[in-house]
Symmetry: D2
Subunit: 284 residues, 4 copies
């Protein structure tokens, strides 16, 4: 039994849902999940479908071809069709903080994330031993003001060599270059340690402490050229009070960062996110 | 522009979604919301649609008729089709606690709930003045061991007279008779002051305190003959600790009861709930 | 049995706790609650005590006098001593939104807040009927660019006449004057409809929607001259997703506003809040 | 600078707080944290203190001795005094589930828990490789109906050899014997995968699914002879809906189990928990 996931967005038009569902019926698919959303302001239609095909004579490629030439053309759709058996390949970028790395690799070992992790890239050597414990190739790629171009070239070379589909910045503490961002548009996930848009930039826990908030947060988002301004995928929060020091904020925040990043990875890996107008549609 | 909501459930079958969406397209409706769910274990299909019709020549009645004779018959559907302009009529049953009553009437005054409240029924006279403040007819219907039949008859007579669609027990402290339950099957909403199935029955806050839980809850559910065992619509929780007394639990619980009941009322009023196998599907 | 609450803050010094608790023992009080906090960065000590006195011969006034001349002088304390039987008097300022008003008056009727509400002041007449339903004097005090001084004078006159201890802005949509703020320093509670410091200013739900956040919030804080920058008392949040419109944000936000404001009122009324360095210590 | 933590409970009596704080002042300690609780129903007093001593001439042992002979005797206290530099030694019991194990070892590597983990005991060999990755001795101790006594003897022998202070059952799937429970009274922490007391026993996610709850939970508690009835340390919850299968409940539950267990370990390790009447006082 073949299973596919289809993501669609296009201008909202009458009859799209009927057309799509009729197409699936025609190619002898069985819809096991359908979700749809209309952004009324922007007049954009979004859809996510999961289908099963028991007809062995019809390949996913031929369905894709047919979809492309009929429906997708008729409605001028942006779309993707994924074979559910192909796990996306994810690269991990890390620096010195290890809590998100441990969490991701623990989940990866327990097969929770639905991804392949062929490599870890870091601008420091500190976490090499963690990578080795989990038998994942670790590549030290220095990245400083002075070697930006060289660093970027090395990153891109590795990402290509390992056929990476998306990138996760697990508290990676360096800038991502515009070129890399454009190569992986809406495919680089960052975890920011505050409830964005409150406290962007560096040292958000210190800022939160200073402001005396009663709730702290973490935000996972796709990386864009504007720092901490990309489309938000997931957020979560924890309560704090006057008894908590900055260090307590940081410690509580680690759990938020772990969980919010893990959820974002899973949503992306299961092709449940779509980006439009610097916002996400998350079919969960 | 006419707007309708359709709720459907039936045995899961291939092609239902395509058939329904094609039907809507045929009668010149525009689907503005579609959600669907398949209970894989039980092999049951659920769907909720909202549609707009700009064709003034086609009445909702005629669409209903056509739906009934074609689709509904073909797929052996249980279904309902609602005109969104008709607000459901809700009866409030209360006893002596006033916090849920105040909350519901405050929301009603602020037009948040999407219902009509033509009457309040109570087995005590204590809350008459609250009802009067909000200009809602208040009917005192005594209900004790000794006058059950009389009380039930009076309740049913009032519910019929005011053409009540559903009933909300806002901390009503008396049993609902099997006859009334069967007349309003899956249409009587209760708020239970615990996180069901923990602590059913009387004095749940006292039981929760005794057990030393760190979280208390409230549960709104449809009333069935089995006390506190009906299909759950909504639940929420609040954290407690050793510093809280039973009285603190009760006070914190009041906010839970208010919010959880208000959400359940709104979900029901907007026809977002469906019941199957003593569970709810809540399209929210 | 007399019950008092004492709030203290002063420079952190060795032996304060021992000195205070020994004092209470000496005047034959029984400590039923003690909580303390040290702001290590600022080197400030905070304490909240609740005590019972069964000795009928000792008046609260005499204890207060003794405390003032010994302990408070020795440690150079800022302090307050409250008789728990005296409920604080609270003025409600409203404009046109009624949801917080209904919620507060519902809680007030149910005697949940531990305050007296002798009057409501509004710059519009819209909510007069709500006030009347709850039998609370309603004063229409216009406040525009052109009559600021007159409006402020009228507000202050009313607050004095009713001996108001603190003010609650229940979605009051006008500026509070610096003079009124200084008369009621750390005694004016506002509810802001966002998770501050994200989205200060007007239309925060619209800004949150535009940014595509996955969580919205509300913040209650003491009013200072810097708009939306005062010490935060309480915050809470609700999850949102792409399916929610701005109108949904606003509707969900109403529940946040209600609850967060009610909690802040209760904390203030029970003398559980202290302000320092534009932050609050909340002993809850 | 020496730092100690003192935990006290005894019958509630007048003047305890003053006596304790005066004692600390007398031995030249500086209280940096004090928290206290009175269980009014049971008339029991609880206190937790953290103190610093800069006087190098006074050993912790001598303070302990003095405390024991004066205060502790006068008020008939149950008490413990801990040197904050001594990290408690914790044994991990596991079976086949690895998610809590990975999480704990990740946190341990990141030095978040404040414990030593000298050994892991398991009734299966499956997780040996995980232990080895983190360089922690792994002991396979079979435990079945037929070898209970032998298994228990081996467990106790290991716990003694490694001088274990407390035990964490990280989804250990075997019964703990009464003898072991009595040796480690209120020192064995279990994680149960439901919101207790709802769904005790086996397969709680299946039961929760069947009941149609909208919220699932996890509970960490001290182990007593009554299965799943011990004093609750911490609980947390996650929302679910009709779209989630049992498998989704289990997956979401893994995060709850991880976090709730990690919090309980940290609270216990920092000596913030006290047990009384099958409930916990948690000073956090």
């Amino acid at each position: 039994m073949q299973k596919i996931t289809i993501l669609i967005h296009c201008k909202d038009q009458k009859g799209i849902i009927a057309a799509v569902t009729t197409f699936i019926a025609k190619v002898e698919g069985n819809i096991i999940y359908i979700d749809q959303h209309v952004d009324v302001e922007q007049n954009v239609f979004f859809m996510r479908l999961e289908c099963e095909f028991s007809n062995q004579n019809k390949s996913i490629e031929s369905i894709k071809e047919e979809f492309s030439q009929t429906l997708a053309a008729d409605f001028n759709m942006s779309w993707n069709l994924y074979n559910q058996e192909q796990k996306p390949k994810m690269a991990l970028f890390v620096s010195k903080y290890d809590h998100c790395l441990f969490d991701i690799l623990g989940r990866y070992s327990a097969d929770e994330l639905g991804v392949e992790i062929p490599l870890i890239i870091s601008n420091h050597n500190d976490l090499r031993s963690v990578a080795e414990r989990f038998d994942i190739p670790f590549h030290y790629v220095p990245f400083t003001k002075d070697n930006k171009e060289e660093g970027e070239a090395r990153q891109i070379e590795l990402l290509k060599r390992y056929e990476i589909n998306f990138i996760v910045l697990a508290r990676y503490m360096q800038i991502i270059t515009p070129k890399l961002i454009s190569l992986y548009e809406n495919k680089i996930i960052n975890i920011h340690h505050s409830f964005l848009p409150a406290f962007p930039g560096a040292k958000p826990y210190h800022s939160a402490f200073k402001r005396g908030v009663k709730i702290i947060g973490a935000t996972s988002h796709y990386v864009t050229e504007e720092l901490d301004e990309g489309p938000i995928i997931e957020q979560d929060i924890a309560r704090v009070s006057h008894i908590h020091s900055v260090e307590d904020f940081i410690m509580k925040g680690r759990d938020l960062e772990r969980i919010v990043l893990a959820r974002a990875i899973k949503l992306h890996a299961e092709r449940k996110t779509m980006v439009y107008s610097n916002k996400t549609v998350v079919f969960s």
